[in-house]
Symmetry: C2
Subunit: 469 residues, 2 copies
Amino acid sequence: MSERAGRLLSRLEGRLDAAGMLVGDAVSDGYAADATARGHRPVAVLRPRGTQDVSAILSAANEIGQPLVVQGGRTGLSGASRPLAGEVSLSLERMSGVESIDVAAQTMIVAAGTPLQVVQQAAEDAGLFFGVDIGARGTATVGGNIGTNAGGIRVLRYGMYRAQVMGLEAVLADGTVLSSLKGLPKDNSGYDLNPLFIGTEGTLGVITRACLKLHPKPKSERNAFIALPSLKAAQELLARLRIGLSGLLSAFEAIFPNVYEGTVAHMGIRPPVEVGAGMYAMVEIQGQSPDQDNERFEAALAEALEEGLATDVVLSSSLREFSGLWAIRDGINEFLFARGESVGFDISVPLSRMQEFLDMAAHAISEIDPDAVSFIFGHLGDGNLHYCMVTEREKEIGEAVFSAIAAVGGGVSAEHGIGTDKRRYLKYARSEAEIVTMRRLKAAFDPNYILNRGRVFEAPVSVGQVERA
Amino acid sequence: MSERAGRLLSRLEGRLDAAGMLVGDAVSDGYAADATARGHRPVAVLRPRGTQDVSAILSAANEIGQPLVVQGGRTGLSGASRPLAGEVSLSLERMSGVESIDVAAQTMIVAAGTPLQVVQQAAEDAGLFFGVDIGARGTATVGGNIGTNAGGIRVLRYGMYRAQVMGLEAVLADGTVLSSLKGLPKDNSGYDLNPLFIGTEGTLGVITRACLKLHPKPKSERNAFIALPSLKAAQELLARLRIGLSGLLSAFEAIFPNVYEGTVAHMGIRPPVEVGAGMYAMVEIQGQSPDQDNERFEAALAEALEEGLATDVVLSSSLREFSGLWAIRDGINEFLFARGESVGFDISVPLSRMQEFLDMAAHAISEIDPDAVSFIFGHLGDGNLHYCMVTEREKEIGEAVFSAIAAVGGGVSAEHGIGTDKRRYLKYARSEAEIVTMRRLKAAFDPNYILNRGRVFEAPVSVGQVERA
């Protein structure tokens, strides 16, 4: 353990309880990894029980200059919570629980270490609904979700996590506690400081509590699996449903043919819609008037079939069928995993230039690695594609894909963030002026770079690189 | 003209065209005032034609240390765009126009000086809908709307202006141009810098262009005027309709009895619903399925009548009736104006504590000025009340109202912002730590305080007060 880390731990002895500080063998392997890779084992794990503990930890670390990695459920996919060499972990795992729900105002106050699934369940128990859902719901925590502005499958209806945040309590690097948990839907009493902590990957402060927005619980939920002639048809259908099913449409997932066929084969099930189509989509509605909603959904899909926008449609008519169709979408990851090592890009593409991007990327990839196989699926409603590939030439292919992204004005990380893993690609999506401005924010709020140092962009040489990506 | 201002103008000669710089008599009276009061006549008005002009102006003003007041439509109500002594105006009035609309993505790119009504009309012409509407629509501009995070009547459905911003182009005080106009609904490629400019009242940068979110155009719009026994009944009805009319409810305005009765008398019309009730509300729906929507609306209101939540309901059944009911809501300001000089507070109150706040404020007011008369109305769906009073003791009453706001955890400015006029009240809504953090942002992005100096909070003595509020 470094002298710095040692000084931090001595300073905090007595401030934290016995279970509040893990060192040596007590630091289990889990703390060293996020969902994609193993990093360094943190030299210690600090486990505050409340906001004042967090403030004391940050204030001491800031004075000493000890870098911290902020950890929630460690389900991140870009390295923001994966420890770099020499970091002490600040884990919010003991600050968990729903504190209160205001049913009339449709808000919830929750501690940052609470798993997403607990939030979803508490909303449901109160007759309400939480708008974000992601695969890691059982482990991913609210603080990490907000820090990475998590997205998921219903962004086109409810927005990203950013849109669920009515207020935050957060601690700045110097220990300053900012509390803004009033949950007022309309409040222009000075600057809104919450955005400093949303999607900034723990680099500007540590979120300790949040006031989240809830929605009316859907009385009807239904989905359909659709075969379509082409991506173009899927885009046209999406555009129509956004208008025609306005207020109902809650997901529009696109699945490219080889992914659909591979996944149903891997699952060993009968394909719900014909194989051999040009594109597949999984569409979901959520509404308040089951009969009327079903009528609108069926009419819209019948029209799509009639006009040739869709060639085959299966509509769920029971909860079992509903879950069965979702299982195919959810089964994609397992199919890809079984295919072997693949590299995945989580990209955001303007809808109007998606085909142009796909052609450009496919062409560039075939020049680099003619044997590369692409598996593409994602949240078409948000222009968010998960573009996965089996290839030996990951780095060159990454550059090629992101060059195509830059050419069409897309984003290099639609929902997974930059962390350490995608730092080198940031310049394909953001201008030098923007990156300099991000650094300016960092320098203003964390001048000693103690919080998630080296995430999003490299720390200046003066404060020391923790590790180069 | 000060020596500083003179230097700025010389520096910009040749950079701006003939109409780009107004001095002396060419500076008309309009530039001196916002919607509430006359300030100082600016020593000059700079009228850039594009982003590069804005960058040149800011870069020069920053070097010279010349304070600028940023002006759009000058319809603000708190003094952010009302010139202080010695300021040069930076008016965006020549940077106007809708640049492009992407119908499939439901986005629009627009110059900052474009009036709101032009945005609304362009959206409508494209078969879409813009979610924010405020009374000053014909004059207020997009840049000012974003800078003040404008709200209005449909926040409970579409959110504040903040929720309409998909991207911004803005210029920092040092002339740095930040452009983020991709309009991607999902993009976590580094920090989102747009929030720096939303609701910060022109103090951190100058917005030059925006990518705005559009919505499906409603196929049905209908409203109802409702008499209710009490505020409590109105709150209960609101809570029910938010669930029962989810996806339809677009406005829920509360009007206190003396305001309703005074307004219809002032307008010389027959009251649409009975006088003598305990509370009045004006409710609007917007939907995509006229027959089904009307059915749901009528059923919900019939249920409210049956259960005694409402005592009288008038439902519009034509565009003319629809506009007639809105005219009453819109007629309130004229009634209040005719009543004579009044002081208005634009406050945000947690729904669950609204009655507590009203009782506390009424009690405090009666102690200070037993003759004070209150006129209360507002956007109940957002907890936003316009609390107006005829009184001679404005200052003490302001302190009393805001003390009550502080006690219930409300906001001192729900939608009008702080500007210069409400600086002294900011402390009732925000902690010292929050205000210090706002100043930290200001110092990081505008260290010479050239942009809207003294708005939101006072400038440090070191850079000089433009004028004390």
